[in-house]
């Protein structure tokens, strides 16, 4: 079996585009990825689409006008992990010998949903009683700050760092540089989280990658997938530690084992910083530092561009925004461009191995419903 490689990547602008459609954004990303891979759309044997908010058949809606010839289209909804889960399933099919070349894409258009927090299932016990995603992370932040003596300024500094990175990312059209003071003075969303500590709620975007066992036609060197792991949340009704990102730690252990690398081998990470506290919790869950030490890792500059292990060089969700279907694929696009030394101003020097992590939540009783981790190498 020839191992599939990522041979092309494409990404739309991330921003507010209510005059566009999610289908059009997906088309832009797909055409860009196919062009980057040096192939024609007819060479793609199957399409895997991650989408969380767009309703039925988002993949087919996106592809029909591109003139595909009836190839299979698979639609995957795993909340914010949809795009990364689509990649995982595409990889499985290819490794089973079903296809030589596939395209994976993800998109969502939140600007048409009317604003506010991501809509959650109102049949869920917690959601019916007022739970929203910022509140869940705010509660984790409150407990984390209490247990580890972390000041609110440490949370704000995550936002400052990621928006500094995002300002160098041309697709992050919504990103503005901010100061710690501006972050803390922005309006409260769920205490202690302020507006600028949350990823922008109304952002549209799409991303796509081409996977193929046939290489040599692309514009950049193909990227290897060392690990692809998807896990689900474990029902925990007891008095669990909410400062431990259990599903991420579990998925990371499996991914490191599959890839044969450890956190010390990584050149960069794209992780699910939907809220500032998330990034700190995930430093620890991914093994970058000991429990309670995330603020010190951040303060050391290790996770900034130019540091030992830059985290979210794209700007992450906080700077780019978080159209949930697109996010997992967009992380892969960023890591590929970094490994291929074509990330422009935000290039991580000598990038060799990158990790992406994205969760999917919104139901009660579990840390998160889903978590996907990929480890890529050049």
């Amino acid at each position: 079996m020839t191992n599939p490689l990522i041979t092309g990547v494409g990404i739309s602008d991330f921003g507010r585009f209510p005059h566009l459609t999610e289908e059009a954004l997906a088309q832009a990303a797909i055409l860009s990825a196919v062009d980057d891979a040096g192939i024609a759309l007819r060479d793609v044997q199957a399409f895997y689409c991650g989408n969380a908010a767009g309703g039925h058949l988002p993949g087919q809606r996106s592809l029909r006008e591109l003139g595909i010839a009836g190839q299979p289209v698979f639609n995957i909804d795993n909340a914010c992990s949809s795009g990364a889960t689509a990649l995982h399933l595409a990889l499985q099919a290819m490794r089973a010998g079903a296809y030589d070349t596939v395209a994976v894409f993800g998109m969502d258009q939140l600007s048409t949903l009317g604003g506010g927090t991501l809509p959650l299932n109102q049949n869920d016990w917690n959601n019916r009683r007022g739970m929203v995603m910022p509140a869940l992370y705010a509660m984790r932040a409150t407990r984390y700050m209490h247990e580890h003596g972390v000041p609110v300024e440490a949370l704000a500094d995550v936002s400052v760092k990621n928006r500094r990175h995002g300002a160098m990312n041309p697709i992050a059209t919504f990103c503005k540089l901010v100061t710690r003071e501006e972050v803390l003075a922005s309006r409260l969303i769920a205490e202690p989280l302020t507006l600028l500590q949350c990823c922008p709620a109304v952002v549209d975007g799409a991303a796509a990658v081409v996977l193929s066992t046939r290489t040599g036609r692309g514009q950049a060197r193909p990227v290897r997938l060392l690990a692809s792991v998807v896990q689900s949340g474990i029902f925990e009704p007891g008095v669990v530690d909410m400062t431990e990102a259990e599903i991420t730690a579990r998925t990371a252990r499996l991914a490191y084992e599959q890839a044969g690398v450890g956190p010390e081998d990584l050149s960069l990470i794209e992780l699910h910083d939907a809220f500032t506290i998330s990034e700190l919790l995930y430093y620890e869950a991914l093994g970058l530092c000991e429990r309670g030490q995330a603020q010190h890792l951040l303060n050391s500059g290790a996770t900034s561009l130019g540091g030992r292990i830059p985290v979210n060089p794209s700007g992450g969700l906080i700077a780019k925004g978080h159209p949930p279907g697109a996010t997992g694929v967009a992380q892969i696009v960023e890591i590929c461009e970094q490994l291929q030394q074509r990330a422009g101003q935000r290039q991580v020097k000598d990038a060799r191995v990158g990790l992406s992590q994205v969760t999917g939540g919104g139901i009660s009783g579990v840390d998160h419903a889903a978590c996907s981790i990929h480890i890529l190498s050049i």
Partner: protein, 126 residues
């Protein structure tokens, strides 16, 4: 299909206040709140009242926007080792330290359904 829906309330009045009803399935199943909503086949489900007082594990105050009032949410731990989520009533001067005692109190959901919430226990009232 051998499926039965639980029809009882998820809270009850006791001599010392309002209690929540947790459940424990047969075998190694942990105690859980909310109570298990459906019972499969011959499964035996035990009902275990918890409260009326618990310990505040964490909380947040949500600010939903200009035209809507802020509201509190909390995770509260109860002695048998179960955590419950619910609204946290925000009273001036209330002790909202993590680890403080809170009690279960009546509350009405926005759709009018009778429900529960948590509120801080005043000092000396424990």
């Amino acid at each position: 299909m051998r499926l039965k829906q639980r029809t009882g309330s998820h809270f009850q009045s006791a001599a010392d206040g309002l209690q929540l009803i947790a459940t424990r399935g047969s075998g190694e199943a942990p105690l859980q709140f909310p109570p298990q909503p459906f019972i499969h086949a011959d499964q035996v489900v035990e009902e275990v009242p918890i409260g009326p007082q618990g310990v505040l594990y964490t909380f947040s105050v949500v600010h939903p926007g200009r035209d809507k009032a802020p509201y509190g949410l909390a995770m509260v731990d109860f002695a048998p080792g179960v955590r419950a989520f619910g609204r946290l009533l925000l009273k001036d001067g209330a002790d909202l330290r993590l680890g403080a005692s809170v009690r279960v109190v009546p509350f009405e959901l926005p759709d009018g359904e009778a429900d529960y919430a948590f509120e801080a226990v005043e000092e000396g009232a424990q």
